[in-house]
Amino acid sequence: MKNKIKYLLSLVVTFAAFGSVSAGELTVATVNNGHMIVMQELTKHFEEDNPGITVNWVTLDEGTLRQRVTTDITTKGGQFDIMTIGMYEAPIWGAKDWLEVLDFDSSYDVDDILPAMRGGLSANGNLYAAPFYGESSMIMYRKDLVANAGMSIPDNPTWGHIVDVVDAIHDPDNGVYGICVRGKPGWGENMAFITTVANSFGARWFDENWKPQLDTAAWHHAVSFYVDLLSTYGPPGSEANSWNQIMPLFNEGKCGMWIDATISASFLTNPEISKVHDQVAYAQSPVAVTNRGANWLWAWALAVPAGTQQKDDAIKFVQWATSKEYIELVAENKGWGNIPTGTRTSTYENQNFLNAANFADAELKAILSANPENSTQDPTPYVGVQFAAIPEFQAIGQAVGQHISEALAGQTTVEKALAAAQKAADREMKKGGYY
């Protein structure tokens, strides 16, 4: 028996030794979204073109991925050669020199990348992460319902007009709710949407001295408006709804309108999963007192952590996966309707894509109108439309999101929720040493 155990233990040690990284192996950490799954599938082309390099994948859900890559990069864990990060992390990590500067050769055509995307992923003038796909937010609505109600939506509507339309198409007895938007707490969930509403109501996260502004009248208006809108015209359970819950709702024909990521359009117009695929129309996000910051800007991007032993191979992969050629490769294999969008000007000049995606114009217009450097009526010290690109923001956004979802669920008032939110934000900023 003892010999057997010895044998087993030695076996274990052998397996453990297997684990060490061998040259030419790239480990990519990524989100389990559809575009990344396609990238994983098509990587065999990259491996064929670059003999000697093999690519391994660690695919996780968004929340877990964010924790894993942040722990790894801050402790120099070195488990990943390429990380999928968002527009929130890129400028912060880049400024701290945790990421390699991405210098691509001229064939990459870096000037083709949409300026808003390039700006949002750079720090100190260097590009630290290459956009894999990008998005803004816009209105997606059922043109049949709006027409039946005798209404119309202009390309740049106001919130006042949108409420009228929503009221006209709201028909819960027949299972149609006027509007669906995110309610699930989280800085990338309900707060992404709420911040765009707040921006257009003239609010801002922080003043020039980094003092949180959640107790101001503008925030109060915006959040009261959001809570009223969603509790009057939203589907049941809105405080738990995120993108994943709303998308099938809309596809089942239960939502008259949805304001969310532009990329959602490709799901709503897919006849295989959508019962309303031929009735979807688009408009730019509604505005109230200012047209700044009414629509968000986000990108999932690939970055190379500083200190990886395979910097050159890693950058080579990032260049491949975010190139024009990659987009064409996806089109060849999956069709033009399924390419990763929102990154390059050339994508929106391609007639094949424009034919396959009826949302292309609206999406491009939304992305071009977003400006992370100037997204609020009053000046702010931070960058970002639906977030503030500072390390403290995740915690603040999470806490504020929790309080607002509680107000939406009717368990507290907007007033109390915002007071608690202001207190939480104030604590975090104090802790961060801002004042």
């Binding site: 274990v12 389990n32 660690v58 877990t64 488990q79 998308m247």
Partner: protein
Amino acid sequence: MSKLDFKNFFDLRVTIIWIITLVYFFPIFWMFLTSIKTEMQSISIPPLLFFEPTLENFFIVQERTNYLKYAFNSIVTSVCSTILGLLIAIPAAYSFAFAPSKYTRDILLWMLSTKMMPAVGVLMPIYLITQKLGLLDTQLALIIIFAMMNLPIMIWMLFSYFREIPKEILEAVRIDGASTYQQIRNIVLPLSWGGLTSTALLSIVLSWNEAFWSINLTADDAGTLTALVASFSKPEGLYWAKLSAVSVMSCGPIIVLGWFTQKQLVRGLTFGAVK
């Protein structure tokens, strides 16, 4: 069918049992059923009970990931951590059972209390230690952690089985000159074989299902099935059917093991509660 069985069939108690059992088992059945639906069928209202089954989701999971690698890691980490745990626990339990001192109870309680520290509270220390030792993303790191995690429970279970063995038997062989190792090997282990196997089974189950460390300390090489589940949890788009499929593939082996060994578990999980 004998008369007695026929009567039994209508027995109220038996009817109640079967209703409870079916309701209780239903979530697992429903998970399995969802795994052989298409994504559209999985969110259909009313929910579908009868449909044309498809194995598509299982193929998708296998295509996207290397299921066997994850399954292999799960097997290696749970089995090896159990063996390591037993190697440490058996001598300790033997000593507690056959040579108790006035500190025995306190040591046992202290051991159990180490289990109450939330894993998240020590994530950074463990992560940094693992990193310094170069054990990030290795099976060895998980094996050691799982063994430590389950050790208190294992010692306690074994202690309770060993206590049932009459001391006189050990006295007798000791007089014959048997060493401690011989006593454990020839007397204690054979006499508490049932307890030993149920201890091992419980440890395997707990290690197999552990999700926090196996996600946070692994990347590509040592990921276990709980990490595989995480890669199918909550993506954008419809995912219930694929999630169900990956769940069936990940929980399947351990459920089947549980089914085959349930007699053993029913006899063995006493924790010293039976005198």
